[in-house]
């Protein structure tokens, strides 16, 4: 602008140069982005971790009314052999104005076996209620001591800050008394 001595030729030269520069730096940026991906992706679960993502559980030794905890993907999974009472209570509460509406029948494959990821949906603590000696909250299921969430006998959130019901993991019955989680 200030100088006209530069002339059109100079500007043309400069713009050709700029296009080349933009193309080259653009290509370099794309290359850098490609190079960054393996570094970022290396922090995702590795092949051996992914391969271990299933656990088999033998249900035979679990008495009615009893719960066990197994580990799956580093997290506790609650397996509860529910009593007739608990099943009836869970079914009856289907229409009790749940925060996260879900029928009990949709949360189990066999009514007496309730399988849950034992991680509170609030901030990831592990709710109490697996042992007979632990408090089970106001609804007879589980109670999370961190921030006071109460879950019922279907693992549904009934009271407290947790937004969702306890998650039901993917599982299949291998036979009557064995399941595979994952």
């Amino acid at each position: 602008m200030a100088t006209t001595a530069d002339g059109k030729g100079g500007h043309g030269h400069a713009s050709r140069r700029d296009i080349l520069m933009v193309a080259a730096t653009g290509a370099a940026a794309v290359g850098a982005a490609y190079a960054a991906w393996p570094l970022i992706n290396s922090m995702n679960p590795s092949a051996d971790v992914l391969a271990l993502a299933s656990t088999e559980v033998d249900l035979a030794p679990i008495q009615e009314g009893q719960s066990i905890t197994v580990q799956w993907r580093g997290k506790p999974v609650f397996v509860r052999h529910r009593t007739k009472d608990e099943i009836a209570k869970a079914a009856a509460d289907d229409k009790a104005g749940l925060p996260d509406v879900q029928a009990d029948a949709a949360r189990v494959k066999k009514a007496e076996w309730l399988i849950l990821v034992g991680v509170c949906t609030h901030l990831g603590c592990i709710p109490l209620g697996q042992k007979a000696t632990e408090g089970r909250g106001d609804f007879g299921g589980w109670f999370c001591p961190c921030h006071g969430s109460h879950y019922d006998t279907s693992g549904r959130i009934r009271k407290g800050p947790a937004p969702r019901n306890l998650e039901v993991p993917q599982y299949t019955f291998l036979d009557d008394k064995r399941i595979r989680i994952g």
């Binding site: 520069m21 080259a24 370099a28 393996p38 992706n41 290396s42 922090m43 995702n44 590795s46 971790v49």
Partner: protein
């Protein structure tokens, strides 16, 4: 540069910060890339920037590897194989890190040789040079400790041999090695502390590099003629001239790295390091990584344990006094006919030492190593001071710009 007026920034956010903390102008003045630069720098001057790139590659890949590696004697080797087999792209990251270290050294040797040839260590750049030697020493320590981490046979025995160097220290040698090991031999505690230091030292390199670049900014870079910049007619802005000139070098460097990583990732390594460390059995023929071979040759050339260690460290420490050993007032080897020849003899001597370091220390190879070692020290301590006195340098050009024009406007003089 140091006395340059503070720049006015147009971006309001930068202005706001700059008014409170003048970080932008400080960074720009000390290590920024917009300094006026001699207009005649050739491609050998690209290696400084290249080394910064190499350092960044090593640090970034190293941080990721550290997320998967386990620094324990019973798990280190397995964890490296875990990286190679299970971690997503783990093999790629490890091969880049391992081969990147080799190219880092290749580049640093070129960079040092360039400094020696063009007299870049001379007044007023002595501290710049000495900081470079410090960086090189930390690099060696870092590379050595990094080589120990895979905990293969070569790792283990390299750690044993190098830590045993310290036992050459009179009186307290034994105590020092025991302290270094954290036990009665190289073992898991040694590995774990090497890992800690291997993670720490690159950041020390990074810090000294900033000082190195700061020192570079005070008087600007040397140039192939070795004569001082006399005015603006001798300089051009670093951006875009040298950025554009050197980016193709950086890209070519990455390409060489890619060829190694993808097609010959173990060429520079040693098969024995794919055997797990075995404290009960030394490999038949142990050699350090190629970049340590010349110094290893010097160590073995001297029959006395303590003197060997002193000679090995002395061969690098002598660089610290290089600015005073070279008595010539002319910087660039381009105008020093006699020095030039001795320079190339030194390069050959270094390569011969490298070859000797790879041979078993016996027979003719040992004799060659002794001669080459003697010549190495002779070069620095005797030849350099004498050549400076007796040599008659060629006439220097009047200025950088006349040297550029004088060599023919069509074809600027490239690498000397």
């Amino acid at each position: 540069m140091s006395g340059a007026p503070r720049r006015q920034y147009t971006n309001p956010v930068i202005r706001w910060i700059e008014y409170r903390l003048p970080i932008f102008s400080t960074v720009e003045a000390t290590i920024g890339a917009d300094m006026p630069t001699p207009k005649n720098l050739n491609y050998w001057w690209s290696f400084g920037g290249l080394l910064t790139l190499a350092l960044v590659i090593q640090i970034v890949t190293g941080i990721v590897l550290a997320m998967h590696y386990i620094a324990h004697g019973s798990m280190a080797f397995d964890s490296v194989e875990h990286i190679m087999r299970n971690v997503n792209s783990g093999w790629l990251i490890r091969y880049v890190h391992a081969n990147g270290a080799s190219l880092f050294f290749l580049a640093v040797y070129v960079h040092i040789a360039r400094g020696m040839y063009y007299g870049s260590y001379k007044y007023p750049r002595e501290i710049l040079w000495m900081l470079g030697v410090v960086i090189f020493l930390i690099m060696m320590a870092t590379a050595f400790m990094g080589y120990v981490l895979p905990w293969g046979q070569m790792s283990f025995w390299a750690a044993t041999v190098i830590t045993n160097l310290f036992s050459a220290i009179p009186v307290i040698g034994e105590e020092i090695t025991t302290w270094l090991w954290g036990g009665f031999s190289v073992d898991s505690p040694t590995l774990t502390r090497f890992y800690s230091l291997h993670y720490l030292l690159p950041f020390a390199i990074f810090g000294v590099t900033i000082l190195h670049i700061w020192a570079l900014h005070v008087h600007g870079p040397n140039n192939p003629t070795g004569i001082d910049v006399k005015g603006p007619q001798d300089t051009i802005p670093y951006k875009p001239y040298y950025t554009s000139k050197y980016l193709s070098v950086f890209s070519a460097f990455m390409m060489v790295l890619a060829v190694l990583v993808f097609f010959e990732p173990n060429y520079l390594g040693h098969p024995d390091n794919y055997k797990p460390a075995d404290p009960l059995q030394t490999p038949a023929h142990i050699v350090p990584e190629w970049y340590f071979l010349p110094f290893y040759a010097i160590l073995r050339a001297i029959p006395d344990k303590l003197l060997g260690v002193i000679a090995m460290f002395g061969s690098i420490l002598v660089w610290f006094i290089l600015p005073w050993l070279d008595t010539s007032r002319v910087r660039s080897g381009r105008y020093r006919p006699l020095f030039k020849q001795f320079f190339w003899l030194l390069v050959i001597d270094f390569l011969v030492l490298m070859w000797c370091g790879a041979q078993p220390a016996e027979g003719p190879a040992l004799i060659v190593a002794r001669i080459a070692t003697a010549y190495y020290f002779l070069h620095f301590i005797v030849i350099l001071p004498l050549v400076g006195w007796f040599e008659r340098p060629k006439p220097l050009p009047e200025s950088i710009s006349t040297s550029v024009l004088g060599s023919g406007a069509a074809a600027p003089k490239a690498a000397e």
